[in-house]
Every structure is written in C-alpha cells, then in structure tokens.
C-alpha cells in the first residue's frame, strides 16, 4: 500500500518540481553568461500565462494535433511512475521495465513528429524529419546503454537495477562507466539541449524540437512545454538513479523518503550545474555532426557491453 502512496508522491513531485528545475537551469545559464536572471519560479508564471491564453488551431489541424499535447504530457507523467527517484518500492516498476520507458519516450516523439507534419507547414515537416533522424540514431544507443546496465545488474527493471547498484557489495564496474558516458550524450540529445538543439532559439530554420511545436499555442503549448521540462527532470533523475543511487529509499523503509528527497534535490541541482557548463561552453553542432556525436554514444554503450563480457 505504501508503495502506491510513494508512487503518487513521486509523480506529484515530478509535475511540481520540473518547472523549478527548468528555472534553475535558466538561472544558472544567465549567471554563466554574466547576466542577472529571472526568478527560479519564472517557468511557473510562463505556464500560467500559456494556460490562460486561447488555443489557436490551424484550419486543417486534425485530431492528432489536438491529441498530442495530452499524450506527451501523460507519457511524461507515466515515466515518472517507473523511475525510482525517491524509492525503489514502486508497484508500477514490476509491470513496466526500462524498455517500456524507452518506448514511452518514443511514443511521445512519434506523435509530436506526426503533429508537426499534421498542419502542413514547412517548418513542422522539417522539424519532424530532423527529429526522426535523431531518433533513429539516439534510440538504439539509448537501448544499448540500458542493456549494458541491465546485463551488469541482471535485470531490466529499474528498481531492481538501482537496488543492485546501490547494494553494499557493488563495485565500480567499467561497463557502467562506459554506459554512463553514453547516457550523458544521449540525455543531451533526448532533452534537446546544446550542442544538439537549442531550446532558446528563435531561428526557425535551425530548430529541431521547437520546429515541430511551432504551431502550438495556449494550453496545448503549455502542456508540451511542461512535458519538456519533465523530460529534462526525468533524464537527470534516471542518471541520478542509475549512476549515483545514493540516498534512494529501499522497499520497506518509507521513513527514509524525506532523506531521499533531500538527496535527489542535491543530485538534480548539481546535474543542472554540469548541464549549464556544457551548454555555455559549446556552440551548437552542425546538423550532420549529430551522426558522429550519437555514433560515439552508441560506440561507448557497445564498449560497455563488451567490457561486461570480457572483464566482468
């Protein structure tokens, strides 16, 4: 029973804190560029503003276009239910393992790409085609990295993986190091950050994710933006859970949830700093360099898997 309460708590935390994390990243970014920043609460205000605005639909928008924001938002919420952020005691993680997680993100991406093409503008189609090109490179690399971790831990269930890595008997394994490097590259890609995509750009022709959602407005846009913030939060949380699981509460120890929460905030906050350092120091890659970038991620994941078989 307590599992379900934790589950709900965790999802509420995801929905509630994701905008703040986004605000934190923006704040750090401003500071790193020598500017004074908006409040950390600014993303909440932006969301409130968008929710209070009317939705403007293109004349030829079909149900796909209207349906996608809700779907994207729900998949992000669902993903929050299976990633052990606070506790490994998650009833849902028995039914949904890490492959389901990848599939959830893939569904959201699939529908976003469809919605981009649905209204028939040049930018939407362009964004969709770029997104799919990236997906075809990033998803195999993501799966490979995850399989490496699964092999090393003997399970595809995220909770189980965390328990294995977090157990006192666990040691630093070379396969996990490789998988971690691959994961960082993939996370930058999946969340649309520099050097892959620029979340702050106004240049239509360079956009990837933004190009697909260019026609969205009002609450639709709010949901998509919110889901984007959650996705960023989730990737940081997956990284924290898999590669730095300290503090996550075990099954049967609900009392350590507050402590787990504190650890999570610290870990995610720190990951924001790393993210901003990467984003400030790098320019965006030329689009076709992405193949090399994601090729490197795939290579790292494969090396991790090889080193598991050879060394472990």
């Amino acid at each position: 029973m307590s599992g379900f309460i934790i589950e709900i708590l965790q999802v509420m935390m995801l929905i509630g804190l994701a905008p703040m994390f986004s605000g934190w990243v923006k704040m750090l970014k401003c500071w790193s560029q020598g500017r004074s920043s908006a409040s950390i609460l600014q993303p909440y205000r932006d969301l409130a503003k968008l929710f209070s605005k009317d939705v403007i639909l293109a004349e030829n928008a079909s149900w796909i276009f209207r349906f996608t924001p809700y779907l994207v938002f729900s998949t992000a919420v669902l993903a929050g239910g299976i990633i052990p952020m606070l506790s490994t005691d998650l009833p849902l993680s028995l039914t949904a393992d890490v492959i389901v997680l990848v599939a959830l993100f893939a569904i959201a991406r699939f529908f976003t790409a469809l919605a981009g093409m649905d209204i028939g503008t040049a930018f939407g189609g362009m964004g969709s085609s770029r997104e799919m090109m990236i997906a075809s490179l990033a998803e195999p690399a993501m799966l490979m990295a995850i399989f490496t971790v699964s092999l090393a831990c003997g399970s595809t269930s995220l909770s189980r993986i965390v328990e294995v890595i977090y157990s006192p008997a666990s040691i630093v394994k070379p396969s996990l190091v490789f998988a971690f490097i691959a994961f960082v590259l993939i996370a930058l890609t999946e969340t649309g950050r520099i050097p892959v995509d620029n979340p702050a750009t106004h240049l239509e022709l360079t956009m990837i994710h933004e190009a697909m959602i260019l026609e969205y407005s009002g609450r639709h846009l709010a949901l998509i933006e919110w889901a984007g913030m959650m996705k960023l939060f989730l990737f940081m949380a997956i990284g924290a859970a898999l590669f730095a699981p300290w503090g996550i509460a075990y099954a049967g120890a609900p009392g350590s949830i507050p402590l787990a929460f504190g650890y999570l905030i610290l870990k995610i906050g720190a990951s924001g700093i790393v993210l901003v350092l990467i984003e400030t120091g790098l320019a965006k890659m030329r689009l076709f360099r992405l193949t090399e970038f994601l090729g490197a991620a795939f290579l790292m994941a494969t090396l991790g898997m090889l080193s598991f078989f050879i060394l472990e």
Binding site: Q33, L203, L205, T206, G281, A283, K284
Partner: protein, 521 residues
C-alpha cells in the same frame, strides 16, 4: 584610366559634362545604343558596377536618363544615357554586369523604364498588388494619394524534381528582425536554390527626398538605415557639399570620422555577438552587447544621441568634443580593447564554434567580384575595397588605414574582418583624439546651381555608401539616389547559400547582416 577606356571605345560619342561634382568623378553622356559598349569597355578595364539608376529629367524639358556608375580603385566614372518619354527603353547591362540585374528591375518597377534584353522583369521592391503603371519615381506620380490596390501574384523561381521541397521563410520571423522573404528549394537538408524577396519596408525614401530642402534632407538620410545613421548622413552631406561646391572646416571632417568609427565599432561588436548567438553560443552575444551598450551610452552622454543621429549636417557637424570628452573616450577605449581581446581569444579557441563558422556560407572571391560586392563582404572574399583607403576624406588621408582582407569568404572570414576592423578603428579613434585640429564646426551651404549633380562615397560599417544628388531647374532636389551596400551585397548572400544545409542559413545570413531598410528604401 577609366576615362581613357571610354575614349578608346566610344571616341567622340562620349560627351563629358562639367556639371558633375566633385570633378574627380567623371561623367559622360553616351548615345542610347552605345550604353552597352560603354559597359563593355568598363568591364575590360576591370571596373566594377557601383550603381545603376534612373532620373526623371522632364523638369529640364528632356526625358528620362539612365546612369551607370563604375568604379575601379579610387576612380568613379558615371555613364549617362538619355531615354525619351515616348520610348522608355534602354539596353540592359545584365549581360556584362550581374548586379545590374536588380538595379534594372528596380528602375523598371519604380521609374517605368524597360531594360531591353533583361531576362527577368518581375517587379522588385514594388509590390505585385500595386498597379502596373504606377511608377513612384516619375514626376507625374502623385505621392500624396494612397496607392490603389490590384490583384497580382509574384512568380517564384522553381526547382522541380524528386524530393525537392520548398521552405518559405518570412517576411514575418520568429525573432525581432526586419522583414524579408526567403524561399529555399532544398533536397533533404541541402539547399539547391535560395531566392530572396525584399521590399517589405519600402518607404518611398528616394521620392520623399524630392520634397525636402537640401538642409532637411540629411534628417531623412540619417534614417535610411537606422544602424548606419552616421555613415548615411555623412554620405548625403558630402554629396550636397560637393554639388554646392563648399568646403567644410577641417575639424568637422575629423569629428565625422570619429562618429563614423564609433558607429563601426558598435555595430561590429553587435554583429560578432549575434553571429556567435546563431551558433547557440549565447555567452558571446551578451558580452559583446555589454561592450556595445557601453559605447552607446558614452555616445549619448557626449554627443546627445546613442547612435549619434542628426549630428552630421550639410556643412559640418553639430556636436563637438572637449578635453573631458576626449579623456572619457580614451579611458573607454582602453577598457574596450582589453575586454574585447579577451573575448576574441574565447572565440578563437572554442573549437565547437570554429567548426560552425569555418567553411559555412562561402562566397568565393571570383563570385564576390562578379557580383561587385562591397564592404565587409567583399573584404572577406579577397576584394580590397574600402573608401577610407581609396577615396579618403580628412583625416583618413593622414594615415594608412590597414583594412583586413581575407580570401576564404566563409562566415569566419566575415567575423574576422570585423574583429580586425574594430582593432583598426580603435587605433584610428586614438589618432583622431590626439591630432584633431581646432576650428569651427560648420559653415553655411550655398544653394546649388540648377542642373548640376553631386556624388559621394563613404565607407560605412557595412561598406561603401553612395549618394548621388541632382539639382532641378530651381536648384531644388530633383533626384537623390541612395545606394546602400545592402543593394549589392544581398545578391552575395543569395549566391553564397546554395550547397549549404538549411540549418546553417541563419548563421550565414547573420554574417552578412545586410540592411533591409537600406535596400528597400
């Protein structure tokens, strides 16, 4: 040299005029059928086409006249040909000079003269929903009435074939920039063709000049392109001073140079930052904007306007600088060059940025010459053209201006040309502050005599700005031709883009950073 080239080919058919000022700019009238021969002779003499325009000379009792201005080195030569009212055609120069392509479309659209042999007579600057026979630059056109609207359609160039798709961009963009339409034909991400469509900020500036007095015209010139207000005011003022045959005080010249170089630094700083920002390297944008803002605030404090607008007038200047002002600028320059060099270092050593700016948007030197590009764009593509060198006004004749010339013609070359120019401008300003002579700020300008014309070319931060003014029968402004560097450099962008990928366009475009307003007039 250009004059000899004309004489060799046309002999006595070329009639030289004494009514073009300054006299160093040679002007001759040739028969209509020899107009192309003159262009041929100029091409052979290695000259570039600087501008081509038409003037309505019916107030003198004549018809129209078409002018082509050629330049090579420090020489300018204007070839004029008369076009009767009842047969408004003239031979097209497009076969000899590529930039004539747009000049002549513009002449056709706004003055209603038909360039015979021109391959493409779609309207340019003028909109398709304006009546065909509305020619705003003609004297018979009444500018006080609103334009009638008709239905029209613009025919775009098309690329067809398997997998070719079209991306229309603009004129309304997602960012706050000027309006312009770009139509890409692409295969995958590779751009096959780019067609520009400009004219969305056509304000009828050339027509408006004709209802101003010579003195008031400078205020309009200062607003042709807001970011180049100083250079445009100087160019207009110099053209007026030429036609009025008046010399201005030495100190006024030096102050103009000071304003011009400050404008150059401020805009180059902004551009370098904006180019880096288009590669998502926002750090550079904010740092450069900070430095630019510092300059603008000093401008406001010392000269009373952030962009030094309306401080240059025909006859001189209206803002002065005292000892305290000099000290303040010197102090600011020291800070600026220190911080600027640090940022240049960061630019230079960031490999991810370098990967974006190198080999993107290449305008090869041959093409740059063929298109007669000017300014930064030309100097990044191996053309050593700078009016500060070739047509110096004081104090530029007192020292050597070391303008950077690069040959790679890519985005990096255009960034680096700006970096070097900022360094040079800082040096020039220091020289000016040390050596500026005393004297008055302005003199009165006499009214020009009828049927004379004045010419001036000034190196603004984008490049060579040309003004040509013509006095009417009562000594009023009969025609004021404005040639912003953008008029020719936009063609350079169009030619530099094919074979780049679509997401690289904004970066390439920003490295050109041409003015829409200055082009559309």
């Amino acid at each position: 040299m250009l004059k000899e080239a004309i004489d060799n080919v046309l002999g006595t058919a070329a009639a030289y005029t004494e009514r073009q000022f300054p006299q160093s700019v040679v002007s001759c009238t040739v028969p209509r059928e020899r107009f192309v021969d003159a262009a041929k002779a100029m091409k052979k003499a290695y000259a570039l086409l600087a501008a081509e325009w038409a003037s309505d000379e019916t107030p003198f009792g004549g018809g129209f006249a078409v002018y082509a201005c050629y330049r090579w080195g420090s020489e300018y030569l204007i070839v004029r040909t008369e076009v009767p009212v009842d047969d408004p055609t003239f031979p097209s120069l497009t076969k000899k000079y590529v930039p004539a392509y747009r000049f002549e479309r513009q002449i056709h659209s706004l003055m209603g003269l038909v360039p015979a042999g021109h391959p493409d007579l779609r309207p340019w600057i003028k909109f398709e929903d304006w009546p065909q026979e509305a020619y705003p630059l003609r004297k018979t056109f009444d500018a006080s009435k609103p334009m009638l609207r008709v239905n029209g359609e613009y025919q775009w160039a098309r690329a067809e074939g398997e997998g070719v798709y079209e991306i229309p961009v603009g004129p309304v963009h997602a960012g706050i920039i000027e309006p312009g339409h770009f139509r890409f034909q692409a295969v995958g991400e590779m751009i096959v063709n780019l067609e520009e469509r400009l004219g969305y900020v056509h304000k009828g500036i050339e027509k408006r000049f004709e209802s101003f007095s010579w003195q008031d015209g400078v205020r309009l010139a200062g607003r042709v392109s807001g970011d180049t207000t100083v250079a445009h005011s100087i160019a207009y003022s110099m053209a007026v001073e030429a036609i009025a045959q008046c010399d201005i005080p030495e100190r006024a010249h030096w102050l103009r140079a000071l304003f011009l170089e400050r404008e150059r630094i401020a805009n180059h700083l902004g551009d370098i930052g904006a180019i880096c920002n288009d590669a998502a390297f926002a750090f550079m944008l904010y740092q450069m904007m900070r430095l630019k803002e510092m300059l603008l605030r000093t401008n406001l404090k010392l000269f009373g306007h952030r962009f030094i607008m309306d401080r240059v007038i025909p006859g001189g200047v209206t803002a002065d600088i005292d000892e305290n002002g000099k000290k303040e600028i010197l102090k600011e320059l020291n800070l600026l060059s220190k911080e600027f060099e640090r940022l240049v270092n960061i630019y230079d050593e960031n490999s991810s940025l370098e990967d974006r700016v190198r080999d993107a948007g290449i305008l090869i030197p041959e093409r740059a010459r063929e298109l007669c590009t000017v300014g930064i764009v030309a100097r990044a593509s191996g053309l050593n053209l700078d009016c500060r060198l070739q047509n110096p006004f004081p104090p530029y004749d007192r020292f050597e201006v070391n303008v950077p010339v690069l040959i790679s013609g890519d985005v990096h070359a255009r960034v680096w040309a700006r970096v070097e120019e900022i360094r040079e401008s800082i040096r020039i300003i220091r020289f000016i502050l040390e050596n500026i002579p005393d004297g008055s700020l302005s003199v009165n300008i006499a009214k020009p005599s009828p049927d004379t014309s004045g010419f001036a070319a000034v190196e603004g931060w984008r490049g060579e700005i040309i003004y040509w003014v013509q006095a009417g029968p009562r000594g009023e402004i009969n025609r004021c031709m404005v040639r912003d560097p953008s008029s020719v450099n936009w063609l350079g962008l169009e030619q530099a883009i094919p074979n780049n990928i679509v997401p690289d366009f904004p970066l390439c475009n920003k490295s050109f950073n041409q003015s829409y307003s200055g082009h559309d007039l």
